[in-house]
Amino acid sequence: MTDEMSPEFLAFSEMLDQEDGLKPESLDSDGRLLLELRQELRDTATLPAGLPSDFARTTATAVTARFHAQSPLVSRLVRWESLLRVPIFSPRGLGLSAILISLFGLAARLLSLKMLALGGALLLVGTVVLKALYAWRLPESFESSSFRSRMPELRIPGLYYLLPLVAIALTSGLVGRGVAGLDQVSLSFRASSGILPLAGLATTVVTFLWLVNAFTPLWRAAEQRVFPAQLVVWGHGAWLGMLAWLYLESNHVDMSSFGLRGFGIPEQTLLGIAMITALVAWVAAWRRRPPDKTPWLKALRRSFVGFLVGVAPLFLAGALLFRFGLTQELRHEGFYREMVREVEDYAARQRAIPAEQNGITELKPFFFRSELDMDKAVDKNKVRQAAEVAKRLKMGSLLWRENADESQKKEDKGRVRADFLRELPRIESAISKPYFSYVSHQNFSLQDEVPNFILCRAITQGLAGLSNEALQAGDSEKALDYLRMNLSWSSKISNDSLICLMISVAQRSIATLDVERFVFEGDLSSNQLSRLAEALRETAPRRGDLKDTMLRETYTVDKFLRQVVDRHLDGGSWTKFVEGDGDWSMLYHILPSSYWESERLAYLNLQLDQSKTWEDLGNPNTLDIDEILMMNVVAAQVTPNFSRAQVQFMRMLTRFAALETVVALERYRLDQGAYPPNLDALVPKYLNELPKDAIHPNRWEYKPNLSYRKTGAKYELVSESPLYRNIKLAPRQLFGPDGDYEEAKAKIH
């Protein structure tokens, strides 16, 4: 037999295959022989009787049985693997996708973004591992036994199926989560949050199908090698990289926690690499298109059209969700009008206060940022002097034991004390005035326009430090004077707005820190104790303060939002506020008035619904500032943390009630020689009424009294409320000899 092939025979062989209906007589003997061979091989009559009539049925049964007789792991994997091959656009594929993507969306809703990114990564790794296991466990077969040949996914082009779907699933999850999380962006959507999880799931599924539909033509083109398949993989790799970056950014994840910064690769570099890779991939794809261009351009056009067609219903759905998610009406219309009238009357009364009777007017040059703005000042020398005064008062914080630096030189501390004492008469003068109204000076305003909180607190700390020094030096009279002055100062910042109330609560918390030490270590006379009791009574917060404050706060925000709705901010701090914040400014300009009106109504509904809570000091809502996204203008930018404020206020009410009781018990002991068996013995001579445990979440009339128990020569005065767990991480608060007093004593000694 010949191994060399003549070109003539090669051509002859090809001719045999190409021409139909060849006649034997037109061929030579070799050709006729080959035609005979063809005839023989095709002639079914010459086939031996081979397959039994039931071959199909018996073979199918045997194959199925053998297949399931393999190890259960292999069978299961093979069965799961077939799910990956279900065509997306078949009814079964759509159903399956809907279920899987709903679960994915649900997981995205329940878990954090970080978990979502992790889930995507696990999905990717898990699929590859499953496929690897499957390939590894397969029995020997006709194909090459090499691992790579059984694992098409390990070959780069095989990643077609994986990377795009993972990228799209993650994108869909992000979009769906965004919709489901609208209640955190907008108070309106918070009010209608019941439909948002469902809308989020639906958006996830629709986005997924839409993206798959839009990109399928491009993938097909890539698969048919219209351009290199690797480019699709790189493109989606870059897409995934950008998604990961987005997740990390939106979740405020510090990249250094992954050790990336240690390698000198900050997130901007990662983003840059991802974007450059994507760009190079697509440019290369464009350059490598085939000469006739049709498949590539057609695929691109179809993808583009698919994108546009798919985006229309998404926008429509978004618009409908937006429309129906907006708050349409104001509940408590009558109450709202009454609130506006009351607050405006209050503001008018405050503005009528003559400047010389208002203590805050005297402090204005030092306490307001606007007054200390050197650039806008007419008399710069005056501003410089005011800044000096503010600086000396601010140094008061160094006198407080919590802030004292042990290594600080004594002469420095002496100078600080001297400076602080030099400016203290200004404070004494201010608090001696009959009024201390912020409204009359500044009107209601946003939280960045309140009196300087740091300075207010520093003065409180300075007074607390002076009082403590005097007590340690045995001068209880002087110590009591500073304490009474501090209580008075701390209660002066009016409750015109919630932030002012919060400042005041924080100051009173510092000012009252040493009251128990006074009582148990100060060796106070009955008269001194009476004066202390009176000071406490006068400076204690009132139950109604919270409601008044919250109504004024609500009025302030409402006024602001009304101006936003009308697109007419009347200058001053409002305008500055809008201009000063990038995100805010953008939102202010792009969101329609209907959105702001809706936000206004939703805010009023949310606030006024709680008016009974403010009045009763009942169970405060648990809405925390952390739950509200940075974009929520109303809640995050305009109002302080109103739920915590309420709890802190209630805690302060309880603290004052407890301290008045502690002083009353001490007066009783001085008179009677021992503590009373119960608190009833104190009323009415030493106490006006039994101390209410205000922080208890019951409504006012059902709040219990503080619990009192005599323990030998001492006693226990206890407040118990589940709310303590949130603010002090303890189940209860002890007052009296074993309570805060012990804690404070430990810090001093």
Partner: protein, 198 residues
């Protein structure tokens, strides 16, 4: 005939397309593990596969065994078939591989000597007919004695009526190699036949 894969008999483009469409649908159903799809697919392809197998093994029993192994692999690995449209070529490739496997395993046992084959011995041998039958027997015995590689190439082309492109995919060789392999197989067949005659 329309219910079976015709191959040799099927020459019209339309019928080929229709048959491919049916096969493609069956392959899709099998990928989804659709109940009954395997039996339908076997019924649809067994005749063609058997002829291909017999062309390679020249033994009906071995062909049956090869087919059973081939259908098991088809069922097991159908998920790896990315394009159901390419099912026909994929199936023939599996069948031919299974045939070679089974031949390798049983090389010592398999009796390829034409004279000892019962099915051919039973053929009549009288007059013109006898002469014709003898010539046919010799053609087939020569074909059966060809190397596997030649038998496979010729079977795919002559029995399965595959194009060069399809053969290139099934055999996993370039188009030019298909062309030369077929020509060489034909040349060897002619040489062998003439040698027998001489």
């Amino acid at each position: 005939m329309s219910a079976t894969l015709t191959m040799g008999e099927m020459t019209g483009q339309e019928r080929t397309t229709a048959a491919s469409g049916e096969l493609e649908e069956l392959a899709r159903r099998l990928q989804l593990r659709d109940e009954g799809a395997l039996e339908a697919l076997i019924a649809r392809t067994e005749s063609a596969c058997y002829r291909l197998a017999y062309s390679i093994t020249s033994d009906s029993e071995l062909s049956r065994d090869a087919l059973q192994e081939a259908y098991f692999l088809v069922f097991q690995r159908i998920g790896q078939l990315r394009e159901p449209a390419a099912f026909k070529g994929w199936l023939f490739r599996i069948v031919s591989h299974c045939c070679h496997d089974i031949l390798r395993r049983r090389r010592r046992e398999v009796q390829t000597d034409f004279e000892e084959r019962e099915d051919l011995q039973a053929l009549p041998e009288e007059g013109d007919l006898a002469e014709e039958v003898t010539r046919a027997q010799k053609i087939r015995s020569t074909f059966a004695a060809l190397p596997e590689i030649d038998r496979t190439a010729l079977a795919l082309r002559e029995v399965c009526s595959m194009s060069y492109e399809e053969m290139s995919r099934v055999l996993d060789v370039p188009l030019g190699t298909v062309r030369s392999r077929l020509a060489k197989a034909r040349q060897r067949f002619i040489d062998a036949y003439k040698g027998v005659n001489r």
